[in-house]
Amino acid sequence: MSTAPGATRSPVPLVTGAIVAAFSLVPLMYVVDATVAMGTGDLWDLLVRPRVGELLGNTAALLVGTVAVTLVIGVATALAVVRTDLPWKPLWHALLAAPLAVPAFVNSYGWVSMTHDVQSYAGAVLVISLSYYPLVYLPVVGSLAGLDAGPEEVAWSLGRSRRRTLFTVVLPRLMPAVLGGALLVALHVLAEFGALQMLAFQTFTTAIYGQYRSAFASDGGTVLAGVLVACCLLLLVVEMLLRGRRRLWRLGRGAGRPPEPVRLGRARLPLVAALIAFAGLSLGVPFAALVRWTAVGSSTEFPLGELGRALGSTLGLATAGAALTTVLALAPAWLAVRTRGPVGMFLERCTYVANAMPGIVVALALTYFSIRLLPGWYQTVPVLIAAYAILFLPRAVVSVRGSLEHAPPVLEEVSRSLGQSGFATLRRVTVPLVSPGLGAAIALCFLAASTELTATLILAPTGTRTLATEFWSHSSAVQYGAAAPYAMLLILVSLPATVLLARQVRPRSSA
C-alpha cells in the first residue's frame, strides 16, 4: 500500500532547499555571466586557439589513461580481496584503502622528489592513478561483498566457465559501483591542481591557475574555466546515460549469501607478491620520500610555532566549513528523502551538479562575485568557508540523505500517536536516529576541507596559512625537507576519514 502524503507540509525545507541549490550553482552562474559579458567575438578568439586544443588533448589523454588504469587496478584488487582465499584480507583491505589518506599532491611530491622521470604523460598517469584508484576499489568492494551468489551459481550450473561467469554475470551487476567510481576519478582528475603542477603536466586546471596568477581574473582564464566546467558536466551526463536504468537493480531483502571463495592454489604466492609490490608503489614511495626528506633534507626544520599556527588555522577553517556544509545539506537531503516530489528531486540534483565544479572554478567564481558585489569580502574567511561549502556540499548531501533514510516517517507517526509533540519527536526519535550519519557527514567534510589546496591558495586571506598552503609553498620552492612535516600532518589529518570510509565497506559480510 502506498504511503499517503503527510497531513501538513511546511514550506521551510522547500524555500531553504531552493536557496541552497542556488548557492551551489554560483560557479555555474559565474561561468555563464562572465562568458556572456565577454561578447561572442572575443569568446570565439579565446576559445579557438592552439593553446585550448593542446590543453584539451592533454586533459583528455590524462583522463582516459587514469580512468582506464584505476578501473583495472580497482576492480582487480577488489576481486582479489573479496572473492579469493587470499590470506590476511583485513590487512590488504587497509593497505589498499590507505592511499586515500595521502593527498595526491603529497604523493606527487614523494615521486617527484625521488625521480624527475615521472614528469611525463606516463608518469602523470601512474602517480595520479596510484592516488585515486581507491575511489574505484572501495565502492566495488562494497558492491561485491553484498552480491548474492545465486545468479553466479545458476550460471555455473548452466555450464558457464568461471571466467565467462565473471564477465557476463558478476561484472554487469557491479556496473553502478564501477561507473560511480570512474566518474569520481574523472572529476578528481579534471579538478586536480597540486599534483599535476608538481608533475609538470599541463591541464585546464593548472592552466587556469597560471592565468589567474599572471593576469588575475582575466577573460582567458574564464574561457578555460568554461571549457573545464563543460567537460565536467559532460562527464555527469555520460555517467547518467551509461547508468540508465541500472540504478533500479536492487538486491532483495537482506544481505546476499557470498559464494565460495576462489581457491588460489599456486597463484597465491604470486598474488601476495604482486600486492606487496603494489603497496610499495602506492604507499612505500611517498613514505620513503617523507622519511628521507625528514631525515636528510638540508632544509629540514621543525618550526613548531609555524606548524602549530598552520595546524590551528587549518582545523578552524575546516571546522567552520564542515559545520556550514552539513547544515546547508539538511534541506536538500530532507526534500529528496521525505517529499520525493519533482521539485525536491530537482533541487537535490542541483547540489549534485556542484560535484562537477573543480575547486579552481569555485574559487574564481567567488573571486568574481565578491569583487563585483561585495568588494570588502574578497580574500576573507567567510568567502573561503563559502567555497568549502560549495565544494563539499554534494558529499554532505549524500551522507545526510543516507542518515535521514534511517528515520522513516512511520517512526515519527508512531511517536506522535504516543502523545509526543513535534519537538519531543525530533529530540527522542529523529535526532538519535540521524546523528551518527550527520557525524560522518561532518567528519568527511572536515577532512576534505583540511586538505583542500586549490581554492585555499586563491581565497585565503593574506597571512592565513594552512597545512596545505604551507606544504605547497615549501615544496614548490624545492624545499622538500621543510615541506615534509606539513605533509605528515596532512596525512595524519586525513587518516580518520580514510578509516571511516574503509570501514563502511568490508571485504566479507560480518556473518
Partner: protein, 345 residues
C-alpha cells in the same frame, strides 16, 4: 457508546477518490476489523483516524470528542490513539523496554507498567533489554502492541499488523494480540486484507469496497449472510454460478438448489461455498473434470470444471483425493444464497 465514530468521511488523491462518504461506529471494547482488498482505502481510513492524513470531508469522533471535522482538528499527539503500523516500526535505537514505555510520562517510565505490559502481551521479561533487531517478527509485533497500549489509549489502530509474518506465525501472533487487547479491555480498529484474520480475531467485520462499507456485522453475519455475491466470494471464497430463481429454488448447472433465504424469482447469481460441494464417483450428481488439486494435509481444495466451462472450488477431507483430469460427480449439500443478477458490484 462508541469509542470511535466516523461519519461522511471522504478523501481523494488528485482525481482518484479513495474514500467516498464513509460511516463507521467502533463500539467501546470491541475489536472491529476493516476488511478489503489492497488499494481499497483501508489504510487511508486508519491514517485519518490517527491524525496523519486530513480528510476532504467528514468527521471523526474519538471517545466522544470530535477530533476531525469542520470545527475542530486535534493533532495526532493529542488524540490518545495507539498505532501499530505494518511491520511494527519499533524504534531501532531503543531497547524493547524503552520502546514500550516511550509514550509514558517520564516519571512513570521506570514504574511497574513495563512488567505489566510485557506480561499482558506475553513477552518474556528478559527481552526488555534486547534491541528490536534481535527479536522475531511476532515478538516485534507484540512489542509494538505493548507500546501502543502503554498510555491507555481510547482506541488502538492496527494497520495490517500480521501481513509481514509468515503463515504459521500469523495465526498465533493474531491470537496473542487479540487476547492481549481483550484483557486490556481496549477498543481496536484493525485493518486487513485477510478474511481469515478478520473473521477469527474481530467481534465486528466491516467490508470496505470502492471507498464505501458494503456490509458491517458480526463475523458470522458477514460469512453466513453476505449482502451480495461479491462479498460472499471475497469473505467466504465461494463459487458464483448463474442461475434462475423459481418456486423458491435456484436452478443452476448443479441442479435445483434449496435456498437459505427467500429470493425474488428471476435471473440470479448463486453462491456455493467450497465446503458445500461434495465430490463423488462419476454418475452421482453433475459430471465435472478435476482441473487442479491443492493438498493441505488434512484437507484438499479441488478446482473443478463443469460441462459449461464454469470453474467451481470444492473443499473436503483428503481421505482419497482425486487427481487432475479425473472425471467425478459433484453434488451440493445444504442450502445456498441467491442474489439478484446484474447487481452493481
Amino acid at each position: 457508546m462508541s469509542a470511535v465514530t466516523v461519519t461522511g468521511l471522504s478523501k481523494s488523491y488528485g482525481d482518484h477518490p479513495v474514500l467516498r462518504g464513509l460511516d463507521l461506529e467502533v463500539p467501546e471494547g470491541s475489536i472491529t476489523a476493516v476488511l478489503g482488498s489492497s488499494g481499497c482505502g483501508k489504510s487511508t481510513l486508519l491514517r485519518i483516524v490517527a491524525g496523519f492524513v486530513r480528510p476532504d470531508a467528514g468527521t471523526v469522533t474519538i471517545g466522544g470528542r470530535e477530533v476531525e471535522g469542520p470545527r475542530a482538528r486535534v493533532a495526532a499527539q493529542r488524540r490518545g490513539v495507539g498505532y501499530v503500523p505494518q511491520e511494527g516500526a519499533l524504534f531501532p535505537h531503543l531497547s524493547v523496554g524503552r520502546n514500550i514505555v516511550f509514550g509514558l510520562p517520564r516519571a512513570e517510565r521506570r514504574g511497574p507498567a513495563l512488567a505489566r505490559l510485557m506480561e499482558l502481551t506475553e513477552l518474556p521479561a528478559d527481552l526488555a533489554d534486547r534491541y528490536p533487531h534481535e527479536l522475531s517478527g511476532g515478538q516485534q509485533q507484540r512489542v509494538a502492541l505493548a507500546r501502543a497500549l502503554a498510555p491507555g489509549p481510547s482506541v488502538v489502530l492496527l494497520d495490517e499488523p500480521f501481513s509481514s509474518l509468515d503463515a504459521g506465525l500469523r495465526v498465533s501472533a493474531g491470537r496473542t494480540v487479540a487476547r492481549a487487547l481483550r484483557q486490556a479491555g481496549a477498543t481496536a480498529l484493525l485493518v486487513t486484507h485477510d478474511q481469515g484474520e478478520a473473521l477469527s480475531l474481530a467481534d465486528r467485520v466491516a467490508v470496505l469496497r470502492g471507498g464505501r462499507f458494503v456490509q458491517v456485522g458480526s463475523p458470522d453475519q458477514v460469512y453466513d449472510a453476505p449482502v451480495d455475491a461479491e462479498v460472499a466470494r471475497f469473505v467466504g471464497g465461494g463459487s458464483l454460478l448463474d442461475g434462475t430463481v423459481r418456486n423458491g429454488r435456484a436452478e443452476t448447472e448443479l441442479g435445483a438448489l434449496e435456498l437459505a433465504q427467500a429470493a425474488e424469482d428471476g435471473a440470479a447469481v448463486v453462491v456455493v461455498r467450497p465446503e458445500q460441494l461434495e465430490i463423488h464417483a462419476p454418475g452421482t450428481g453433475v459430471d465435472a473434470t478435476v482441473v487442479e488439486v491443492d493438498y493441505y494435509g488434512a484437507q484438499v481444495v479441488v478446482l473443478l470444471e463443469l460441462p459449461s466451462g464454469t470453474h467451481v472450488t470444492a473443499r473436503g477431507p483428503a481421505a482419497r483425493p482425486p487427481r487432475p483430469d479425473d472425471k467425478v460427480g459433484v453434488r451440493v449439500d445444504g442450502t445456498v444464497r441467491a442474489h439478484p443478477a446484474g447487481e452493481d458490484l
